[in-house]
Structures are given as C-alpha cells and as structure tokens.
C-alpha cells in the first residue's frame, strides 16, 4: 500500500550571541594601538617578547602582566606570505589577488599574522623584506578587529605594511620566527 506523502520542510535559522570581553592585557594593547604604539609582554623567564601580549608565556608557562610590558617597533621583517586569488564564494568581497602575510616586528619574537603588504608587486615579495606599518588615520582606528579568542588582527589600526627600502634582513633574524 502506498501512501501519498508531502515533505514537511521547516526553516530553522540559528544565531548565537556572544559577548567578548577583552582581558586587561589586550585592552592595554588596544590602548597602545589607538596611540600608534605596539606593545607586547616580555617573558621574565626566557625574555621572549609576545605581540600581542597573551598574559603568559606558553613556553615557560609563567604569567606575565603590566610589569612585563615592552614597546616594539612598527617596522619589521616579512617572514612569510601567501598571495590569495579570491574565489567568488558567498560573502567574498575581494576581486583582485591580495596578500596574507606575517611580519616579525623589531623587538618581538612572535609575528603579526594576516597583514597586507602594499606597494610591492606580488612577484617581488620575498621573505626577509624589510617592512613598516601604514597606520590608519587616528580618527579611523577602531578595536572591532581585536578579539580575545585567538584570532583577529590589527587591520582596524594598520591598513597594511609597505617596503622600507632597507636591505633585506639576515635569515637568522626570522628563520625561527616565521609564523
């Protein structure tokens, strides 16, 4: 016996709301960015400098705080990059190839990830290139790109990085600090 059936389709839209409170460590980092300064934490044990500051050193497993705060340069070394050719998936706004790069700032032991490099032809990008931050005008800076959840970058404060024209960095200055 066959029974005529009609499919029942129910639309169920899901949204979840989160409140992401920045920890004091990141708040001070953000305060610095509004002033055009980049701060990190220096581990009191191994002396490595983390930018952004995390409030601890994952290698030594010790906590760090305001007393460990240091300012680093807004110049540094291009340590790695990808040239991304955008695919027109839903929500993709980019149409031209763009750069996703990591930069080790002078004075830091970690890299800023997800930064753009402008003013350099893509086929001339290379590790070791000396770069400097192109800051957004003060009135355009916002903290909305900063999260406490392990991702998010400084792109709401720094538009991109550009070449400084200095000679390339010595590989020993970035080979242990690529990501």
């Amino acid at each position: 016996m066959s029974v005529a059936k009609e499919d029942l389709v129910m639309t169920h839209l899901v949204s979840l709301t989160y409140r992401d409170t920045l920890p004091p460590t990141l708040n001070r980092f953000v305060d610095g960015l509004f002033d055009g300064r980049i701060v990190g934490h220096r581990c009191p044990s191994c002396r490595r400098v983390y930018v952004p500051p995390r409030g601890y050193c994952p290698l030594c497993v010790v906590t760090t705080g305001p007393d460990d705060e240091v300012e680093v340069s807004d110049r540094g070394i291009l340590t790695g990059f990808t040239v991304i050719t955008p695919v027109a998936y839903y929500g993709q706004q980019a149409t031209d190839p763009f750069v996703h790069a990591s930069a080790r700032l002078d004075g830091a032991d970690t890299t800023l990830v997800g930064v753009d490099i402008t003013g350099v032809p893509h086929d001339q990008l290379h590790m070791g290139l000396r770069v400097r931050a192109v800051w957004k005008p003060e009135e355009e800076r916002t903290a909305e790109g900063i999260t406490s959840r392990g991702w998010g970058g400084v792109t709401t404060f720094i538009d991109s990085f550009e070449a400084t024209g200095e000679p390339d960095a010595d590989p020993k200055d970035y080979q242990e600090h690529m990501f």
């Binding site: 169920h12 899901v14 979840l16 989160y18 992401d20 995390r54 497993v61 010790v62 406490s148 959840r149």
Partner: protein, 356 residues
C-alpha cells in the same frame, strides 16, 4: 607499597581549581595557566614528566573555534606532548587519561577542564549544542527540560518542592567552607519557597549559577603514586554509561545510567563518607541520590556541588577533585564522585575513590 596496590592502580596525586566567578575578565587559557601549574606543583613533578595530557572544554561556550587548542598552551607549548581532548566535562578527560595509564607504559597524566559560560547566553546556546535537530527548533532550553523533570519527580511523590529548597539551602551552607564556591550563605528554606518560579516548579536557586573557571588534576600509577603522595586518592573503579538523548524516551525520575555506572565502578552499596554528585539542577541531586541508593550518613556534596559553582566542562571533574581532597586529607576513606554530561542526566560517570 601495600599488597593491594598494583601497577594498574591509579590515583589522584595533585589538583587545583580556581574560584568560580560569574564573569572572568581573563581568557580561558589565562584561567588555566595558574591552575595547571598549581596542580603539577602539588603533585611534586616536573611538567616534562607527564606522560599524557587530556582536557575537556566546549568551543561553543566562547564561540572560539579550536579554543581547546589554544588552551593547551597552559600545559606548555614546548616540548611536544602526547595529548587528547574531549568536547565534554573534564571528568571524561580523566576517564580517557585513566584508560591511557592502564596501558602501563607511562606513570603520570595531567587532566584539566575549563569553561567560560559568561561569554554566551547559556539557555540559547545549549539547545543548539545538545540537540539542534529535534529540540532546539522548539525552543526547549535546559532549564525548561529540568522543569519537566522536576514536575515528573514531584508527581511520583518521591520529593516535594520543600525537599528541592532544602537541597539548595544545604548546598549554600556547605559552600561556606568552600573557597572556590560562587554562591554561599545561610538561606532560609521558607524564604526560598517564597521566590517566584522561573520554570515551574523550579525557582532561580534550583538552577546552578552561570560560572567561569578552570580545574586540573594529576593522576599517577602504582608505585609512582606512592612516591608522589603520602595518601593518594586511589580510583577503585570508574565507569560511564549513556541513555537516549531524547528526554521522551527515558524515565526522567530515575537515572538508570548512573546506577549502572556505579555498579560497574564497583560500588556495592556499602558505606560512603562522601558523595560528590554533579547536579546542575536541585532536582537532579534528588534523582541521583535515590538512583545510587546512597546509605544513611553519607555526606552529600560537602563542597556545595554544582548549585554553588557551576563551571560547565569542569564541574564534573571538580566533583572528583573534591572527593579526592577529602581522601587525601584523611577526612574520608571511601568516596563516590559523579559527573554528568548532556541534557537531563543523559550520560553519567561514577568514580569510586579510596584511601589506603
């Protein structure tokens, strides 16, 4: 080493927990760093000695994909470690670590659990995490489900609303002696009963609080446990059992999986000094105590339990920590710790601990 302790006997030898708070201003990793360090220090080992690390957390809580990976930084990012993670309460991370230790080739394991419920709206979040297909579209949140469970229990006559209020009053009173509790104090049962319902027949105090926090413990095997700790909390048995997740398919007034897990863990119904039961709703403590058949004189939730500090993803592990603490300080010689996972006591773990 006593004759009854062999190489497959595993014990808690160190632990730590942070005080539960309504809203931590730190990240989950920042909460974990001092807690893990303290547990390892108490165990008296170097973190490089740890043979296996297992953690329990839920990325839904903060909405941070792969947050559990970053949490590992609190255990030390270098040198590399052997580790695993469960998207469950840390009590199940402990279970995995216990199984790993039974292999016999490592001597110690680190277990931790953490959660930041403050970042989300838990009553909206949990239906999506627990059952986005059948129950979430109906808008059934955990508190509403617990209300149905409470009404079912009241209908059997095995408990009254006053009994539930007395569970809460005892929790708050016991929590006075617990520096890690979030809710504590002397409260009057009649005053509790005068409060309005939030999900009839449950009142706000029948629901565990929203908590942020973290906990960690160290396990050691056989001779190593003896070396590290004068009076380790030996795991005499541990087992977990699960039931269908749809509440309509189960008898909500009892917990068959808890009773079975207790039996498989070796609990024979004999005397217990302490029972730490993971009951995020007052009615669930009643259901658990009855399902386990706890003997008269058992000190139930001397810590205050999950009604006093409800760190989701750590509250079950903390039951094992609280029971272990009482074994290790000599105030108890036999204790039962319980942890639950899923909706309405769907999945339950029982751990039987003894001193020697």
């Amino acid at each position: 080493m006593p004759a009854d302790i062999g190489p497959t006997d595993i014990a808690v030898v160190g632990f730590a927990q942070m005080p539960a708070v309504r809203r931590s201003i730190e990240t989950e990793v920042q909460m974990l760093v001092p807690v893990i360090t303290e547990a390892i220090t108490m165990a008296g080992i170097d973190r490089r000695e740890i043979g296996f690390t297992c953690s329990g957390s839920c990325d839904y809580l903060t909405g941070g994909p792969f947050a559990f990976v970053q949490n590992l930084e609190a255990a030390g990012a270098w040198p590399p470690i052997a580790e695993s993670h469960v998207e469950m309460d840390g009590a199940w991370a402990l279970y995995e670590a216990w199984v790993r230790l039974l292999h016999g080739d490592i001597d110690t394991a680190l277990v931790f659990g953490s959660g930041k419920s403050s970042a989300s709206e838990p009553l909206d979040l949990w239906p999506q995490q627990l059952d986005p297909y059948h129950l979430a579209p109906l808008g059934v949140d955990p508190a509403s489900l617990a209300g149905l469970q409470a009404q079912a229990v009241l209908d059997t006559g095995r408990a009254t609303e006053r009994d539930l209020a007395e569970v809460v009053a005892r929790s708050r009173r016991n929590a006075l002696a617990n520096p890690h509790a979030q809710l504590r104090g002397e409260v009057d049962v009649d005053a509790l009963l005068a409060e309005p319902y939030v999900r009839q027949p449950l009142r706000r105090h029948d629901l565990g609080p929203i908590s942020d926090g973290a906990a960690a413990l160290v396990l050691a095997r056989g001779e190593r446990a003896r070396q590290l700790c004068e009076r380790p909390a030996w795991i005499r048995g541990i087992d977990h059992r699960t039931e269908p997740h749809l509440p309509g398919l189960r008898d909500l007034t009892t917990s068959a999986s808890t009773a079975l897990a207790a039996r498989k863990a070796g609990y024979d119904g004999g005397p217990l000094d302490v029972a730490e039961l993971h009951a995020p709703f007052s009615v669930q403590e009643v259901v658990l105590a009855q399902s386990l058949g706890l003997p008269e004189g058992t000190d139930v939730n001397p810590s205050g339990g999950a009604l006093a500090a409800n760190i989701v993803m750590a509250a079950g592990l903390i039951r094992i920590i609280e029971a272990s603490a009482r074994i290790m300080d000599g105030s108890a010689s036999r204790a039962l710790a319980h942890a639950t996972n899923g909706q309405l006591l769907q999945h339950n773990l029982v751990c039987l601990l003894e001193g020697s």
